[in-house]
Subunit: 317 residues, 2 copies
C-alpha cells in the first residue's frame, strides 16, 4: 500500500471524498478522520469512511505517514502549529487549498525538519458541503496541481503524486506564485465577478428582481450557480490570494472601463474588434479539450485534462 | 391557418428557424424568404424552407399579412423605411431583436397607419449562424417577450402571441423599457463581462495564457463560450441598449469597487456577508425553475419557462 496510516484533518466534502477514494483504491492500511466536530466524527464512523475518528488533533495524527490538511485555508496555519510536535519521522503533510502562497507561509514554519510539507491543490469540488456530500469519484479526470517547495524531497513529492493519480487525477507540477496567478484568473476572479453581479441584481427593486430571476438567461443563471459557493471558503480564498486577485482585478477593471467608454461614445468599431478577438481564446480552449461539458455539474471547479472525460450525471441546479 | 403569407426578412439562424417552425406547425399558407444575399435565397429554396425567395424587399413583402424583421437590430430601421409603401392593409410587422427601445424608435415612424408594428423578442439562439443552422425546435420551451405599443391593436397582438405559442414558446407581455432593463441585466451585462474577462486573459504573457487555457475552470470556460458570440450582433446590442447597459454597468462597477476595497483592507466580514446574500438569489432561481441545465447547449440565451424542459443535445463546445 502507498501509505500505512492517513490522517485527514477536516472531513468535509474534499476530505471525505479523499477518504472514500483512498479506500476504493486501496491506498492506505488505515484512515483516521480528524475533525473538531463530534457530529462529523460520528458520521464518518457511521458511514464507514474511516477506521477511527478523533476530535483531538495531536492524537489524530499520531503515527500517520500522511497528514492531509483539508480545513479552510485560513485555518491551516493554526492546525499545523498544533500538530507540529506530534508528527512522525518522515511524515508527509499535504493540503488541498485553492490558494498556495498563503498556505505555505502559514504552514511551513511549523513543519519540523523530520517531516515534509508538500502543498497540493486538487481542482475539484461541488456546491455542496459536509462528509455526506463526498464521493470517491470526485477527483477522477481532474487536474491536481502540486507545488513542491524548492527543497522538497523528490521521493515525498512522488508519493503525493501517486496519491492523487490513484484518485484518478492528472498531475501538474507548478510553482506557488504561478499557481496563485493562474487560479486567480481562471477561478478566483470569475467567482468574484459572479458574486458581484448577483449582488447587483439583488439590489434592484423587487419587481425588477422577479423579472431578472424569471428571465435569467444562461449567462446570469451560471453566475448564480457560481455565487452559491461556500461563503467562508471563498472569503478565505480572497483574503489569502489578495495580491494576485487585486492585480488581475485591476487589469479587468481597466478593460471594463474601456468597454464602458466605447459604449458611451458609441464606438462600434472598438466593440466589434474586441468581440472578434475573444473568439480566438475560445478556439484555443476548445482545442485544449477544455470545452467539454461547459458546466460540469459534479464539480464547480473542473478543468478537465481532456475534454469530455467526465460527463456529469444528475444536476447541480 | 394563422397567416396567409409570411415574409421573413433576414434568413439567418432565427429567421430560418422561424420558417421551419411555421412550416412544421402549419401556421401559414405561404412563406417568403427575403434576404439581400443571393446565396442565402438560393439555399433557402434548395432546403425547401420557403415557397419563394427574393432579394428585393418590396417584392418580398408584397401581399404578406405578416412581415418578420429578422435582420440585425441596427438594420431594422432601414428595412422598415424601404418596405413602408409595400405593406398590405392590416399587415402585421414584427421583429425578433434582443433590444426593443431602439428598434421601436427606428421602425415605428415608418409603419403606415394601415399596418401594425408589434415588437417581440424570442429568447433563443445558439452560437451558430446562417440558414443551414436553423431548426424548428429552437423556440420550444423558451420565453418570448412581446412588447406591444400603447396603441397596439389587441387582435394583432393576439396573432403574434399565437405565432410564438405555435412555435412552442411561452409568452410574456412587457413594456419596452422594462424589457431593455431586464435583458440588460440578465443577458447584456453578463455578455459584456464575459467579453471583457476573456479579453483581459488574452492580454497576458503567452505562457501564463497557456496555463489559463489549460486550467480554465468551469467559471472561465463558461465565459469563453459566451464571448464567442457573434461580434456584429453584440456590437449592435450594446449600441442599441446603451442607456440600460450603462446604468447597470455603473451599478456593477460600484459594487465591484466595494469588493476590491474589502479585499485590499482584508475585510473578511464584508466579503462573507456579501457572499452569503447571493445564495438567496440562487435559491429563488432554482425555485423559479430556472436552474435547469446550467448551460443549455442549444441556446445561448435560454431562460426556460420551466426548469429542465429542454435538455440540450450535443455540444456547443
Amino acid at each position: 500500500m502507498l501509505f500505512q496510516k492517513v490522517s485527514i484533518i477536516g472531513f468535509g466534502l474534499i476530505g471525505s471524498s479523499l477518504a472514500r477514494a483512498i479506500r476504493k483504491h486501496g491506498m492506505a492500511e488505515e484512515i483516521v478522520c480528524v475533525d473538531r466536530s463530534v457530529d462529523v466524527c460520528k458520521k464518518a464512523v457511521k458511514l464507514k469512511l474511516c477506521d477511527k475518528a478523533d476530535t483531538d488533533l495531536r492524537k489524530g495524527v499520531d503515527g500517520a505517514d500522511l497528514v492531509v490538511l483539508a480545513v479552510p485555508v485560513g485555518a491551516c496555519g493554526t492546525v499545523a502549529e498544533q500538530i507540529r510536535y506530534s508528527l512522525k519521522e518522515g511524515a508527509i503533510v499535504t493540503d488541498v487549498g485553492s490558494v498556495k502562497g498563503a498556505v505555505v507561509n502559514a504552514v511551513q514554519p511549523h513543519i519540523p525538519d523530520k517531516a515534509h510539507f508538500i502543498p497540493a491543490h486538487p481542482i475539484a469540488g461541488t456546491e455542496h458541503s459536509g462528509p455526506e456530500a463526498g464521493f470517491a469519484e470526485l477527483f477522477e479526470g481532474r487536474w491536481c496541481i502540486i507545488t513542491p517547495l524548492p527543497d522538497s524531497d523528490i521521493q515525498k513529492v512522488e508519493k503525493v503524486t501517486q496519491l492523487w493519480e490513484g484518485c484518478g487525477s492528472v498531475i501538474e507540477i507548478m510553482d506557488v506564485k504561478r499557481h496563485d496567478l493562474v487560479l486567480g484568473i481562471t477561478s478566483h476572479l470569475p467567482h468574484l465577478i459572479a458574486y458581484t453581479i448577483v449582488g447587483t441584481a439583488t439590489d434592484l427593486e423587487e419587481d425588477t428582481q422577479d423579472d431578472v430571476i424569471k428571465f435569467s438567461a444562461s449567462g446570469f443563471r451560471d453566475f448564480t450557480r457560481i455565487a452559491a459557493s461556500d461563503p467562508v471558503m471563498w472569503r478565505d480564498v480572497f483574503l489569502n490570494n489578495r495580491e494576485a486577485v487585486l492585480e488581475i482585478l485591476q487589469r479587468f477593471t481597466e478593460d471594463l472601463t474601456a468597454m464602458q467608454r466605447a459604449i458611451r461614445k458609441e464606438d462600434g468599431d472598438y466593440l466589434q474588434a474586441m468581440f472578434t478577438r475573444t473568439r480566438d481564446i475560445r478556439r484555443k480552449v476548445i482545442e485544449a479539450g477544455q470545452a467539454g461539458d461547459a458546466s460540469p455539474t459534479q464539480a464547480s471547479e473542473a478543468a478537465q485534462p481532456s475534454g469530455d472525460r467526465q460527463k456529469a450525471s444528475g444536476s447541480a441546479g
